[in-house]
Symmetry: C2
Subunit: 307 residues, 2 copies
């Protein structure tokens, strides 16, 4: 594949950026990739493992002359980084990001982007429970969604180019409006994470059930929650603080609904419980029929160790 | 492997029983396996697919002369089945079950077990999102836990024999006291299921977010919930009604904890959020270190389709 951009700058070198680097290299999507991380230890690690063609000691140095600058820092840090690189951005360049919320990023970053630079927020729906410069791998985006959130007046050609980069990294790309993105993600990701964090916290407090037992017998249900709850604390703190309204809206609906279920259990309402579980099962069937998951009966089963 | 029991009777022919049958056959653990299901359609299916050596038209017929009778019906139906088979049980035989709660099963089944019959409740921690006679497979119990919950005065030799059967089916066996079992399972399985059901219900009600979008972009978090929420409605209704006290206790703790998190989001309490997420991440690390899960970065990633 021929390069989509001559020079790409990755600001912040965690799981998302390092996976982008390896995916860009895998497909030859950029002539040169520069990188910057705030922590000196991260920059040292990056240099040691060959992450980025050139690791710079400031965000401005990495961004200068780049055709595409991707902000891969926690949502709460985006505004400050944008302020630092704004003055050195090349006319005609594109600035994008990978944040899990979009309205807050647009509000924080937008004002720092010069007139003649394109600003096209993005959000790849991919991740693992790991973080840091050594956690990346080239396959992270393969067959995952990347949502582009063009701002008003985004240049269609610049959008098409960013789309080509993400598709080259293996992703399926769709466009979405910022507020709608934040609501959809609150439902599909942010609130489920809040819930998973909470359930893991409950188990931790419960001294009557020893930790080892909770862990040992957590095959169904709880262990999936712990996996979700292992994601990067800084990233998630910023997600909740920056998608506050949608998260609180959905959390409110969730607790109302949970109280209904709790009451049905307390009152012994057999019909409510049966009907409720039948309905949720039908939704799951819809997901399988939509081809968004497998119904293989032995999913995730690994031979040779307790699971 | 030589047979552990001459004759095993499986009452109820869903996922758990049908998997037991195939696992018993795989290892030659029983001379003959009889089966019974309340629904005629299920019995017809069982006969057609060769599930059980002999499918009977009543629970008593299946249980008569058996050395081991395993109750594989929903928890709420166990008492009635026990009443039906009690009179025909062979002296020296063992009655066991596979219910997800244990105290309620002991209370419901115990009174119907004759003096000279062993009653050893059990709970294999295994399952899929599927149910019915055709959903079983021989590998379901491989490297999964099966908890035996011997009642007061359970004969050690009878317990050892039941353990040999489960180990022969591939499971790792441990013993546990009934009330403790119910509390551990409330934390690791029952409440996580209640939460998953609820979150799927919330998404279903939310008309502003179209169903297709919720499904399409549900890669992280939500889709795991839908998988959990697809389990058998009758089984889960009975679990919640029969482990009411522990479930309500844990649900209460969960909502308290969730309100703390919700308040921190509303108040913008950065420190609380960061510390909370750091703590839950440490718990997850503990699970990986305990060898109860893998930290492979590309878990579950399948090439060739959006995920």
């Amino acid at each position: 594949m021929s390069p989509v951009y001559d020079r790409v700058a990755l600001i912040g070198l965690g799981l998302i950026a390092s996976s982008m680097f390896w995916a860009i290299k895998r497909a030859g999507l950029a002539g040169e990739v520069t990188g910057y991380a705030r922590s000196e230890a991260t920059r040292d690690t990056a240099r040691r493992i060959g992450l980025c063609d050139r690791v710079c000691d400031s965000a401005a140095e990495a961004a200068e002359g780049a055709d595409l600058v991707v902000l891969c820092v926690p949502v709460g840090a985006m505004g400050q980084v944008a302020a630092e690189i704004g003055p050195v951005l090349k006319p005609g360049a594109t600035v994008s990001d990978v944040g899990s919320v979009k309205r807050a990023v647009i509000d924080a970053v937008g004002p720092h982007i010069p007139e003649e630079v394109h600003f096209i927020p993005a959000h790849p729906l991919a991740g693992t429970e790991h973080s840091g410069p050594q956690s990346g791998f080239a396959e992270l985006y393969d067959n995952r969604w990347c949502l582009l959130v063009p701002t008003e007046g985004s240049d269609p050609q610049a959008v098409a180019r960013l789309r080509a980069l993400w598709e080259g990294m293996g992703a399926n790309v769709e466009e979405m409006e910022a507020d709608h993105h934040d609501l959809v993600l609150a439902v599909t990701s942010h609130v489920p994470h809040a819930i998973a964090y909470t359930m893991v916290g409950v188990a931790d407090h419960l001294r009557r059930v020893t930790e080892s037992e909770v862990i040992k017998y957590s095959a169904a249900g709880f262990r999936d929650f712990t996996r979700i709850a292992a994601s990067d604390p800084t990233m998630w703190r910023d997600v909740f603080l920056n998608n506050r309204e949608a998260t609180l809206d959905i959390l409110g609906r969730f607790t109302e609904e949970l109280f209904m279920l709790q009451r049905a259990i307390r009152m012994g309402d057999e019909t409510y419980l049966f009907d409720y579980f039948t309905r949720t099962r039908a939704i799951r069937r819809g997901i399988i029929e939509a081809g968004q998951d497998t119904d293989a009966p032995d999913f995730g089963r690994v031979k040779g160790k307790p699971a």
